[in-house]
Subunit: 168 residues, 2 copies
DNA sequence: ATTAATTTTCAAAATATTTTGAAAATTCGG
DNA sequence: CCGAATTTTCAAAATATTTTGAAAATTAAT
Protein backbone atom coordinates (compact mmCIF):
# COMPACT_ATOMS: atom_id res chain seq x y z
CA UNK A 1 0.00 0.00 0.00
CA UNK A 2 1.20 3.47 -0.97
CA UNK A 3 1.78 6.06 1.73
CA UNK A 4 -0.77 8.46 0.29
CA UNK A 5 -3.40 5.75 0.20
CA UNK A 6 -2.53 4.62 3.72
CA UNK A 7 -2.83 8.19 4.98
CA UNK A 8 -6.26 8.57 3.44
CA UNK A 9 -7.36 5.32 4.95
CA UNK A 10 -6.03 6.32 8.35
CA UNK A 11 -7.75 9.69 8.34
CA UNK A 12 -11.04 8.32 7.20
CA UNK A 13 -11.06 5.46 9.69
CA UNK A 14 -10.00 7.64 12.59
CA UNK A 15 -12.84 9.96 11.62
CA UNK A 16 -15.40 7.16 11.52
CA UNK A 17 -14.16 5.94 14.88
CA UNK A 18 -14.58 9.41 16.32
CA UNK A 19 -18.31 9.28 15.74
CA UNK A 20 -18.47 6.21 17.98
CA UNK A 21 -16.71 8.13 20.67
CA UNK A 22 -18.89 11.18 20.85
CA UNK A 23 -16.73 13.53 18.80
CA UNK A 24 -17.59 14.58 15.32
CA UNK A 25 -16.11 13.09 12.23
CA UNK A 26 -14.30 16.23 11.13
CA UNK A 27 -12.70 16.89 14.47
CA UNK A 28 -11.35 13.36 14.48
CA UNK A 29 -10.11 13.75 10.91
CA UNK A 30 -8.29 16.95 11.69
CA UNK A 31 -6.74 15.20 14.64
CA UNK A 32 -5.74 12.24 12.46
CA UNK A 33 -4.18 14.54 9.89
CA UNK A 34 -2.12 16.28 12.54
CA UNK A 35 -1.11 12.99 14.13
CA UNK A 36 0.61 11.83 10.98
CA UNK A 37 1.94 15.21 9.88
CA UNK A 38 5.71 15.39 10.44
CA UNK A 39 5.54 19.15 10.77
CA UNK A 40 3.01 21.65 12.09
CA UNK A 41 0.23 22.65 9.69
CA UNK A 42 -1.68 25.86 9.10
CA UNK A 43 -5.43 26.27 8.80
CA UNK A 44 -4.97 26.52 5.06
CA UNK A 45 -3.06 23.25 4.93
CA UNK A 46 -5.88 21.52 6.77
CA UNK A 47 -8.54 23.13 4.58
CA UNK A 48 -6.72 21.93 1.49
CA UNK A 49 -5.99 18.41 2.67
CA UNK A 50 -9.43 17.65 4.05
CA UNK A 51 -11.43 19.80 1.65
CA UNK A 52 -13.33 21.66 4.31
CA UNK A 53 -14.09 25.29 4.94
CA UNK A 54 -12.05 27.73 6.95
CA UNK A 55 -14.71 28.14 9.61
CA UNK A 56 -14.95 24.43 10.06
CA UNK A 57 -11.22 24.04 10.52
CA UNK A 58 -11.16 26.90 12.94
CA UNK A 59 -13.91 25.52 15.16
CA UNK A 60 -12.57 22.00 15.22
CA UNK A 61 -9.04 23.11 15.92
CA UNK A 62 -10.36 25.12 18.82
CA UNK A 63 -12.16 22.08 20.22
CA UNK A 64 -9.04 19.98 19.83
CA UNK A 65 -7.09 22.59 21.73
CA UNK A 66 -9.77 22.57 24.46
CA UNK A 67 -9.35 18.81 24.70
CA UNK A 68 -5.62 19.33 25.09
CA UNK A 69 -4.86 17.27 22.00
CA UNK A 70 -3.51 20.02 19.77
CA UNK A 71 -1.25 22.98 20.37
CA UNK A 72 -0.67 26.22 18.57
CA UNK A 73 2.93 26.68 17.60
CA UNK A 74 4.52 29.92 16.58
CA UNK A 75 7.04 29.65 13.83
CA UNK A 76 9.45 32.51 13.98
CA UNK A 77 9.20 34.94 11.12
CA UNK A 78 5.80 33.55 10.09
CA UNK A 79 2.60 35.46 10.43
CA UNK A 80 0.31 32.44 10.25
CA UNK A 81 -0.45 30.16 13.16
CA UNK A 82 0.68 26.56 12.99
CA UNK A 83 -0.84 23.58 14.74
CA UNK A 84 0.61 20.35 15.97
CA UNK A 85 -0.78 17.29 17.75
CA UNK A 86 0.72 15.33 20.61
CA UNK A 87 2.20 12.30 18.88
CA UNK A 88 2.58 9.93 21.84
CA UNK A 89 -0.61 7.88 21.77
CA UNK A 90 -0.39 7.02 25.44
CA UNK A 91 -0.34 10.71 26.24
CA UNK A 92 -3.24 11.26 23.87
CA UNK A 93 -5.26 8.55 25.57
CA UNK A 94 -4.35 9.89 28.99
CA UNK A 95 -5.55 13.30 28.01
CA UNK A 96 -8.82 12.00 26.60
CA UNK A 97 -9.48 9.87 29.66
CA UNK A 98 -8.81 12.77 32.01
CA UNK A 99 -11.14 15.04 30.10
CA UNK A 100 -13.92 12.52 29.83
CA UNK A 101 -13.68 11.67 33.50
CA UNK A 102 -14.05 15.33 34.25
CA UNK A 103 -16.81 15.98 31.75
CA UNK A 104 -18.84 12.79 32.10
CA UNK A 105 -17.97 10.44 34.92
CA UNK A 106 -17.62 13.01 37.69
CA UNK A 107 -20.96 14.76 37.07
CA UNK A 108 -22.69 11.40 36.63
CA UNK A 109 -21.40 10.21 40.00
CA UNK A 110 -22.45 13.43 41.65
CA UNK A 111 -25.96 12.94 40.30
CA UNK A 112 -26.11 9.33 41.46
CA UNK A 113 -25.21 10.50 44.95
CA UNK A 114 -28.18 12.80 44.95
CA UNK A 115 -30.52 10.26 43.45
CA UNK A 116 -29.58 7.64 46.00
CA UNK A 117 -31.07 9.90 48.66
CA UNK A 118 -34.53 9.65 47.10
CA UNK A 119 -37.34 9.67 49.65
CA UNK A 120 -39.61 6.69 50.17
CA UNK A 121 -39.82 3.38 51.93
CA UNK A 122 -37.07 0.92 51.03
CA UNK A 123 -39.63 -1.89 51.31
CA UNK A 124 -41.48 -0.40 48.37
CA UNK A 125 -40.35 -2.42 45.37
CA UNK A 126 -40.21 0.63 43.11
CA UNK A 127 -37.98 2.45 45.55
CA UNK A 128 -35.80 -0.56 46.18
CA UNK A 129 -35.09 -1.25 42.53
CA UNK A 130 -34.34 2.40 41.89
CA UNK A 131 -31.97 2.76 44.80
CA UNK A 132 -30.26 -0.54 43.99
CA UNK A 133 -29.68 0.54 40.41
CA UNK A 134 -28.29 3.90 41.41
CA UNK A 135 -26.10 2.31 44.05
CA UNK A 136 -24.82 -0.21 41.53
CA UNK A 137 -23.88 2.59 39.18
CA UNK A 138 -22.06 4.40 41.97
CA UNK A 139 -20.05 1.29 42.79
CA UNK A 140 -19.21 0.69 39.17
CA UNK A 141 -18.28 4.32 38.72
CA UNK A 142 -15.80 4.09 41.56
CA UNK A 143 -14.27 0.95 40.07
CA UNK A 144 -14.07 2.51 36.61
CA UNK A 145 -12.49 5.56 38.12
CA UNK A 146 -9.75 3.46 39.72
CA UNK A 147 -9.15 1.54 36.51
CA UNK A 148 -8.88 4.71 34.51
CA UNK A 149 -6.46 6.21 36.98
CA UNK A 150 -4.30 3.17 36.54
CA UNK A 151 -4.33 3.58 32.78
CA UNK A 152 -3.55 7.24 33.06
CA UNK A 153 -0.76 6.92 35.58
CA UNK A 154 0.81 3.77 34.29
CA UNK A 155 1.31 4.50 30.62
CA UNK A 156 3.66 1.97 29.21
CA UNK A 157 4.65 0.60 32.61
CA UNK A 158 5.97 -2.87 31.90
CA UNK A 159 5.35 -4.29 35.32
CA UNK A 160 1.73 -3.25 35.29
CA UNK A 161 1.20 -4.72 31.85
CA UNK A 162 2.50 -8.02 33.13
CA UNK A 163 0.44 -7.81 36.30
CA UNK A 164 -2.69 -7.15 34.31
CA UNK A 165 -2.21 -10.29 32.30
CA UNK A 166 -2.30 -12.30 35.51
CA UNK A 167 -5.88 -11.28 36.02
CA UNK A 168 -7.02 -12.29 32.57
CA UNK B 1 -36.47 14.30 46.14
CA UNK B 2 -39.60 12.39 45.14
CA UNK B 3 -39.24 9.03 43.43
CA UNK B 4 -41.08 10.15 40.31
CA UNK B 5 -38.82 13.17 39.98
CA UNK B 6 -35.72 11.09 40.61
CA UNK B 7 -36.77 8.60 37.93
CA UNK B 8 -37.27 11.38 35.39
CA UNK B 9 -33.89 12.80 36.23
CA UNK B 10 -32.27 9.40 35.95
CA UNK B 11 -33.80 8.66 32.57
CA UNK B 12 -32.98 12.01 31.13
CA UNK B 13 -29.38 11.99 32.37
CA UNK B 14 -28.74 8.44 31.24
CA UNK B 15 -30.09 9.48 27.85
CA UNK B 16 -27.84 12.51 27.62
CA UNK B 17 -24.89 10.37 28.63
CA UNK B 18 -25.72 7.90 25.88
CA UNK B 19 -25.09 10.52 23.23
CA UNK B 20 -21.52 10.86 24.53
CA UNK B 21 -21.10 7.14 24.13
CA UNK B 22 -22.18 6.72 20.57
CA UNK B 23 -25.69 5.48 21.23
CA UNK B 24 -28.72 7.57 20.64
CA UNK B 25 -30.60 9.38 23.31
CA UNK B 26 -33.77 7.36 22.99
CA UNK B 27 -32.07 4.01 23.11
CA UNK B 28 -30.32 5.06 26.30
CA UNK B 29 -33.60 6.32 27.75
CA UNK B 30 -35.40 3.08 27.01
CA UNK B 31 -32.53 1.29 28.66
CA UNK B 32 -32.71 3.58 31.68
CA UNK B 33 -36.43 3.05 31.98
CA UNK B 34 -36.01 -0.71 31.95
CA UNK B 35 -33.12 -0.55 34.41
CA UNK B 36 -35.30 0.98 37.08
CA UNK B 37 -38.49 -0.89 36.26
CA UNK B 38 -39.20 -3.53 38.92
CA UNK B 39 -41.12 -5.63 36.41
CA UNK B 40 -40.90 -6.26 32.68
CA UNK B 41 -42.56 -3.67 30.44
CA UNK B 42 -44.39 -3.86 27.13
CA UNK B 43 -43.84 -1.68 24.09
CA UNK B 44 -46.96 0.22 25.06
CA UNK B 45 -45.65 0.89 28.54
CA UNK B 46 -42.47 2.30 27.08
CA UNK B 47 -44.37 4.39 24.51
CA UNK B 48 -46.49 5.84 27.26
CA UNK B 49 -43.72 6.54 29.74
CA UNK B 50 -41.30 8.11 27.29
CA UNK B 51 -43.86 9.63 24.95
CA UNK B 52 -42.43 8.14 21.81
CA UNK B 53 -43.90 6.28 18.87
CA UNK B 54 -44.38 2.56 18.53
CA UNK B 55 -41.88 2.26 15.70
CA UNK B 56 -39.27 4.08 17.68
CA UNK B 57 -39.69 1.81 20.68
CA UNK B 58 -39.55 -1.21 18.47
CA UNK B 59 -36.31 -0.25 16.75
CA UNK B 60 -34.53 0.78 19.91
CA UNK B 61 -35.61 -2.31 21.79
CA UNK B 62 -34.23 -4.37 18.96
CA UNK B 63 -30.91 -2.59 19.16
CA UNK B 64 -30.79 -3.07 22.90
CA UNK B 65 -31.41 -6.77 22.40
CA UNK B 66 -28.60 -6.85 19.81
CA UNK B 67 -26.33 -5.27 22.37
CA UNK B 68 -27.33 -7.99 24.81
CA UNK B 69 -28.66 -5.45 27.30
CA UNK B 70 -32.34 -6.31 27.12
CA UNK B 71 -34.24 -9.55 26.90
CA UNK B 72 -37.69 -10.48 25.74
CA UNK B 73 -39.67 -12.24 28.42
CA UNK B 74 -42.80 -14.23 27.86
CA UNK B 75 -45.38 -13.88 30.54
CA UNK B 76 -47.61 -16.89 30.62
CA UNK B 77 -51.16 -16.27 29.54
CA UNK B 78 -50.20 -12.90 28.02
CA UNK B 79 -50.25 -12.21 24.32
CA UNK B 80 -47.95 -9.19 24.45
CA UNK B 81 -44.20 -9.35 24.64
CA UNK B 82 -42.50 -8.01 27.70
CA UNK B 83 -38.98 -6.64 28.02
CA UNK B 84 -36.55 -6.56 30.84
CA UNK B 85 -33.02 -5.24 31.28
CA UNK B 86 -30.09 -6.85 33.01
CA UNK B 87 -29.98 -5.07 36.36
CA UNK B 88 -26.46 -5.87 37.51
CA UNK B 89 -24.45 -2.86 36.35
CA UNK B 90 -21.20 -4.80 36.28
CA UNK B 91 -22.77 -7.26 33.89
CA UNK B 92 -24.13 -4.39 31.82
CA UNK B 93 -20.69 -2.81 31.61
CA UNK B 94 -19.12 -6.15 30.76
CA UNK B 95 -21.55 -6.64 27.96
CA UNK B 96 -20.98 -3.16 26.56
CA UNK B 97 -17.23 -3.53 26.74
CA UNK B 98 -17.32 -6.90 24.97
CA UNK B 99 -19.49 -5.53 22.19
CA UNK B 100 -17.45 -2.41 21.68
CA UNK B 101 -14.22 -4.35 21.62
CA UNK B 102 -15.70 -6.52 18.93
CA UNK B 103 -17.26 -3.69 16.95
CA UNK B 104 -14.56 -1.05 17.30
CA UNK B 105 -11.27 -2.05 18.83
CA UNK B 106 -10.75 -5.30 16.93
CA UNK B 107 -11.36 -3.85 13.43
CA UNK B 108 -9.26 -0.82 14.28
CA UNK B 109 -6.34 -3.01 15.29
CA UNK B 110 -6.69 -5.09 12.15
CA UNK B 111 -6.50 -1.93 10.06
CA UNK B 112 -3.44 -0.66 11.94
CA UNK B 113 -1.70 -3.95 11.17
CA UNK B 114 -2.28 -3.39 7.49
CA UNK B 115 -1.29 0.24 7.59
CA UNK B 116 1.95 -0.51 9.40
CA UNK B 117 3.05 -2.41 6.31
CA UNK B 118 2.93 0.72 4.16
CA UNK B 119 5.62 0.78 1.48
CA UNK B 120 8.37 3.39 1.50
CA UNK B 121 11.74 4.17 2.98
CA UNK B 122 11.76 4.40 6.77
CA UNK B 123 14.31 7.18 6.52
CA UNK B 124 11.69 9.30 4.79
CA UNK B 125 10.30 11.54 7.54
CA UNK B 126 6.74 11.23 6.21
CA UNK B 127 6.92 7.45 6.29
CA UNK B 128 8.59 7.36 9.67
CA UNK B 129 6.01 9.54 11.39
CA UNK B 130 3.18 7.58 9.84
CA UNK B 131 4.55 4.20 10.84
CA UNK B 132 5.43 5.41 14.32
CA UNK B 133 1.90 6.70 14.85
CA UNK B 134 0.30 3.50 13.63
CA UNK B 135 2.66 1.42 15.73
CA UNK B 136 1.90 3.53 18.77
CA UNK B 137 -1.81 2.95 18.26
CA UNK B 138 -1.25 -0.78 17.96
CA UNK B 139 0.68 -0.84 21.22
CA UNK B 140 -1.95 1.17 22.97
CA UNK B 141 -4.69 -1.00 21.56
CA UNK B 142 -3.05 -4.10 23.00
CA UNK B 143 -2.73 -2.42 26.38
CA UNK B 144 -6.35 -1.25 26.31
CA UNK B 145 -7.42 -4.71 25.32
CA UNK B 146 -5.70 -6.19 28.36
CA UNK B 147 -7.16 -3.58 30.66
CA UNK B 148 -10.65 -4.18 29.34
CA UNK B 149 -10.30 -7.91 29.74
CA UNK B 150 -9.43 -7.33 33.34
CA UNK B 151 -12.52 -5.23 33.86
CA UNK B 152 -14.68 -7.79 32.10
CA UNK B 153 -13.33 -10.82 33.87
CA UNK B 154 -12.90 -9.36 37.30
CA UNK B 155 -16.25 -7.74 37.95
CA UNK B 156 -16.46 -6.85 41.58
CA UNK B 157 -13.34 -8.81 42.52
CA UNK B 158 -12.25 -7.29 45.79
CA UNK B 159 -8.63 -8.27 45.54
CA UNK B 160 -8.27 -6.68 42.15
CA UNK B 161 -9.88 -3.47 43.36
CA UNK B 162 -7.34 -3.30 46.12
CA UNK B 163 -4.46 -4.18 43.81
CA UNK B 164 -5.49 -1.47 41.39
CA UNK B 165 -5.30 1.14 44.10
CA UNK B 166 -1.66 0.28 44.63
CA UNK B 167 -0.90 1.53 41.17
CA UNK B 168 -2.62 4.86 41.60
C1' DA C 1 -59.36 -20.63 7.98
C1' DT C 2 -60.64 -16.34 9.92
C1' DT C 3 -59.80 -12.60 12.59
C1' DA C 4 -58.15 -9.62 15.97
C1' DA C 5 -54.03 -8.51 18.51
C1' DT C 6 -49.49 -7.45 18.14
C1' DT C 7 -45.05 -6.57 16.03
C1' DT C 8 -42.25 -4.97 12.31
C1' DT C 9 -40.98 -2.17 8.50
C1' DC C 10 -39.82 1.88 6.14
C1' DA C 11 -40.82 6.19 3.41
C1' DA C 12 -41.71 10.63 4.63
C1' DA C 13 -41.52 14.33 8.11
C1' DA C 14 -39.40 16.37 11.88
C1' DT C 15 -35.37 17.46 14.27
C1' DA C 16 -30.56 17.96 15.18
C1' DT C 17 -25.98 18.53 13.73
C1' DT C 18 -22.48 20.02 10.81
C1' DT C 19 -20.65 22.94 7.33
C1' DT C 20 -20.18 26.95 4.76
C1' DG C 21 -18.66 31.46 3.65
C1' DA C 22 -18.75 36.10 4.06
C1' DA C 23 -18.58 39.79 7.43
C1' DA C 24 -16.54 41.30 11.67
C1' DA C 25 -12.80 41.25 14.68
C1' DT C 26 -8.10 40.86 15.63
C1' DT C 27 -3.24 40.97 14.90
C1' DC C 28 0.90 42.81 13.51
C1' DG C 29 4.42 44.89 10.31
C1' DG C 30 5.64 49.09 8.58
C1' DC D 1 -2.18 54.63 13.17
C1' DC D 2 -3.03 52.31 8.69
C1' DG D 3 -3.92 48.53 6.07
C1' DA D 4 -3.13 43.92 4.73
C1' DA D 5 -3.04 39.31 6.54
C1' DT D 6 -5.14 36.26 9.39
C1' DT D 7 -8.43 34.44 12.58
C1' DT D 8 -12.97 34.20 14.53
C1' DT D 9 -17.86 34.29 14.55
C1' DC D 10 -22.35 32.93 13.39
C1' DA D 11 -26.68 32.95 10.56
C1' DA D 12 -28.14 30.42 6.87
C1' DA D 13 -27.69 26.23 4.02
C1' DA D 14 -26.61 21.59 3.61
C1' DT D 15 -26.50 17.19 5.48
C1' DA D 16 -27.39 13.52 8.66
C1' DT D 17 -30.04 11.40 12.10
C1' DT D 18 -34.05 10.35 14.47
C1' DT D 19 -38.92 9.87 14.81
C1' DT D 20 -43.38 9.08 13.27
C1' DG D 21 -47.31 6.51 11.90
C1' DA D 22 -49.75 3.86 8.95
C1' DA D 23 -49.46 -0.22 6.12
C1' DA D 24 -47.71 -4.85 5.87
C1' DA D 25 -46.42 -8.90 8.15
C1' DT D 26 -46.77 -12.02 11.76
C1' DT D 27 -48.78 -14.47 15.49
C1' DA D 28 -52.01 -17.07 18.00
C1' DA D 29 -56.69 -17.82 19.76
C1' DT D 30 -61.09 -19.45 18.32
Amino acid sequence: MKLSEAKQQFISTWGAMGTHWGINRTMAQVHALLLIAPDPLTQDDIMAQLNISRGNVNMNIRDLIDWGLVDRVLIQGERKEYFTAEKDIFKVATQIIKERKKRELDPMMKLMDQLSKVEGDRRDKEVKVFVDTVTGIKKFGAHANDMLDVVVKSDENWFLSTALKLFK
